[in-house]
């Protein structure tokens, strides 16, 4: 059983993926670490980044955190504001 999640991309990850949003199938219940691994497998250039975090509903998440349907998911490459 799986569920679909929509993932947002910004900055260099948007350019690596070639899209601002992707809809992915994740095993249910998905975890942040699984999402990251699946994306890194499909887009090896992601592994070359200095860091790569996942935000769930606008909060930085840990690899073991679950992903629920309708969560707002975003990939966060190294930030450089300011």
């Amino acid at each position: 059983m799986s569920h679909r999640v929509s993932v947002q991309f910004f900055g260099i990850t948007r350019e690596i993926i070639g899209a601002s949003t992707l809809t992915l199938d994740l095993p249910q219940p998905g975890r942040v670490g699984e999402l990251l691994n699946s994306l890194k497998a499909q887009y090896p250039a992601l592994s070359g980044l200095r860091s790569l975090l996942v935000a769930v509903n606008g909060e930085y998440a840990e690899p073991e955190d679950p992903i629920q349907p309708n969560d707002e998911i975003a990939l966060i490459p190294p930030v450089s504001g300011g």
Partner: protein, 126 residues
């Protein structure tokens, strides 16, 4: 800037600090022609509010303003503004520095530098 100053001014303030992050014309001696900032808006605003709230817990802050621009910016333009009003000056300096340091570490905003010979997402790679 004037409106930020008017907003933070208050009769209880003895000290007001402003920090402006401006677009520098060079990085590692390469010539920067323009910058582009991209933000994860919803989370960026939330994180900036969390940082300001934490600063208000740590220091005696009367008023503050935190603004970050996005989109295309040219050399000399203001990218970020942090204004803090406090009764005494040590708090204004410490809080201002905490806010900008933490903002740069945790707020999901990304900067792309455009050189005459290419473009680079800042700090993306080791």
């Amino acid at each position: 800037m004037n409106s930020a100053f008017k907003y933070v001014s208050t009769d209880e303030a003895g000290a007001i600090t402003f920090f402006f992050g401006t677009v520098r014309n060079s990085t590692n001696s390469r010539n920067v022609e323009q910058l582009e900032y991209e933000a994860y808006d919803r989370m960026a605003l939330k994180k900036m509010q969390e940082i300001a709230d934490e600063a208000c817990r740590r220091w005696n802050i009367l008023r503050y303003v935190v603004v970050h621009r996005k989109g295309t910016l040219l050399t000399g333009e203001i990218a970020v503004l942090v204004a803090v009003a406090t009764p005494h000056r040590a708090d204004a300096y410490d809080a201002s520095r905490y806010i900008i340091d933490t903002l740069k570490q945790t707020v999901p905003i990304w900067k792309k530098e455009y050189f005459d010979d290419g473009q680079v997402w800042v700090d993306a790679h080791p």
